[in-house]
Amino acid sequence: MIIVTWLIAFIQALLIAALAPLLIGWVRKVKAWLQNRRGPSLLQPYADLRKLLVKEIRVPHTASPLFRASPYIVFVAIWLAAATIPLVALDLPTSRIADIIVLVGLLALARFFLALAGMDAGTAFGGMGASREMLISALAEPAMLVAVFTLAMTAHSTSLVSVIDHHLTDGFLLRPSYLFALGALLLVALAECGRIPVDNPATHLELTMIHEAMLLEYAGRHLALMEWAAWIKLLLYGVIIANLFFPWGVAQDFSPLALGLGLAAVLFKLMILGAVLAVSETALAKMRLFRVPAFLNLALLLALLGLLSHVILEVGA
């Protein structure tokens, strides 16, 4: 039985890495439709990855060994974080590796090395991107932690599996705290994944880029790993939001039927979330960098209100 659960966990981890380019392809496709274009095929990100993986690696001669190591560290940290979240099934052995706090820590580790690598080559753009990334993450992390603490307080546990389990046993409840936490997590996810109101992933315009500025010196396999890690991070936030707030459909045992249903449910939820992301990116304009703190303040306020409304309205005296 233990071997079977580990096998399922392993397949789920591979599935996350395999699905991430599909999600990004879907978001790009919907955006193209909204702009009256046909857009590239859904599988285009896979083709990009393959092309980058077979290309020659170029490393700036000013770079230290850290520059070569960073893509692997970033990719492994984010993939490990993504492997611990319940994608298809709930009680897998990998989910005991990390609770919510370790998950945030793993993402912070990846971000730390990403920023270091950005500064390592010594170009102006890399340093600028790294400093901006750190500004945003320093503001986004408290909001994210307070938002997940709201959920953890409801379930009396910081493990994602118990939070989802608790939500499923309670059935459908209109929790004000969940509504606020959902709003906060959506805003944090936009900021952390570098999506449009905060950063534009499709631009290389020097004054506005954040994430792309740190990757400017990378080529070939290194660039592929960095891009892939960013896509997995988007999928990770999508799965957290989808499965924490709308957990219905996730497999609670390991029968093939339940697993198939869980996979279909999570694919459906991610499809909806991706479409919502594409619509919001089409409707909103990128904001000035100096407006980003106000944006993340709103996220922190929402998270705090979620925590307070949990204490005031839901627990009662």
Binding site: L173, L308, I312, L313, E314
Partner: protein, 231 residues
């Protein structure tokens, strides 16, 4: 009382009350006057929705009238009067940002915690499912007060005052399942008269100091005259 024992309709009341609190925060930080008036109208509409849902969930028929009165007065009539005033004063594009928005938000959060602490002993007595909302309504009152303190613009201060009144009404609905009709009509009339008086005051203030920034009322007129003479 935990959330699981409540019916869906009663949970909906709590959700609406939480949204009223959130709108209070947004109103506090909104720099544009017209947008702030719209937010105030939405808050009034949410209060009316809370009253209606309490009436539905608790089978309190006299609250239907309160809900209707709130909707007409707070969500339609007063915002419309404010809108007209702002247009006549030529302030449609007026913006006034808070000086330290993040600090103001944290002060608001502290007020919410304070009002919760204040209300806890009272809540232990109550039995109705709406008793948890009392803390929220007190917080709305205090945030309205904070808005009157922090804003310099007279129209924004009036919005703070009106949102305080929203909080009081929410407290009445949640603590005692509504006031008697006579009291309610009296309060509604008071608010309406206050609105008319505010309108007159706006024009008086602007005539005397040429602006609606009430901080300028602190300056002595003689010093202004002296400066003019020197120039």
């Amino acid at each position: 009382m935990t959330l699981t024992v409540l019916t869906l309709l009663q949970q909906f009341v709590l959700l609406l009350a939480a949204l009223v609190l959130f709108l209070s925060f947004v109103l506090l930080a909104q720099p544009r006057l017209i947008a702030a008036i719209h937010l105030f109208a939405w808050q009034g509409a949410l209060i009316a929705a809370v009253t209606l849902t309490v009436a539905l969930a608790g089978h309190a028929h006299h609250l239907y009238f309160s809900a209707l009165l709130t909707l007409v007065l707070k969500a339609l009539l007063i915002p419309w009067m404010l809108h007209r005033l702002v247009r006549r004063l030529g302030l449609e594009r007026h913006t006034e940002a808070l000086r330290w928005p993040a600090l103001a938000m944290m002060a608001g959060v502290a007020l919410v915690i304070f009002s919760y602490w204040l209300v806890v002993p009272m809540v232990e007595q109550g039995l109705a499912f709406t008793r948890n909302i009392v803390a929220v309504s007190l917080a709305v009152v205090l945030i309205g007060l904070l808005m009157m303190v922090l804003r310099q613009q007279a129209v924004a201060q009036v919005l703070g005052f009106m949102s305080m009144e929203n909080g009081l009404f929410l407290a009445a609905v949640s603590a005692t399942a509504g006031m008697p009709l006579v009291v309610e009509l009296g309060v509604a009339f008071d608010v309406l008269v206050a609105m008319v008086l505010f309108g007159v005051f706006f024009f008086q203030i602007r005539e005397s100091i040429d602006s609606l920034d009430v901080d300028r009322l602190n300056r002595l007129t003689e010093t202004v005259d002296n400066e003019d003479l020197i120039q």
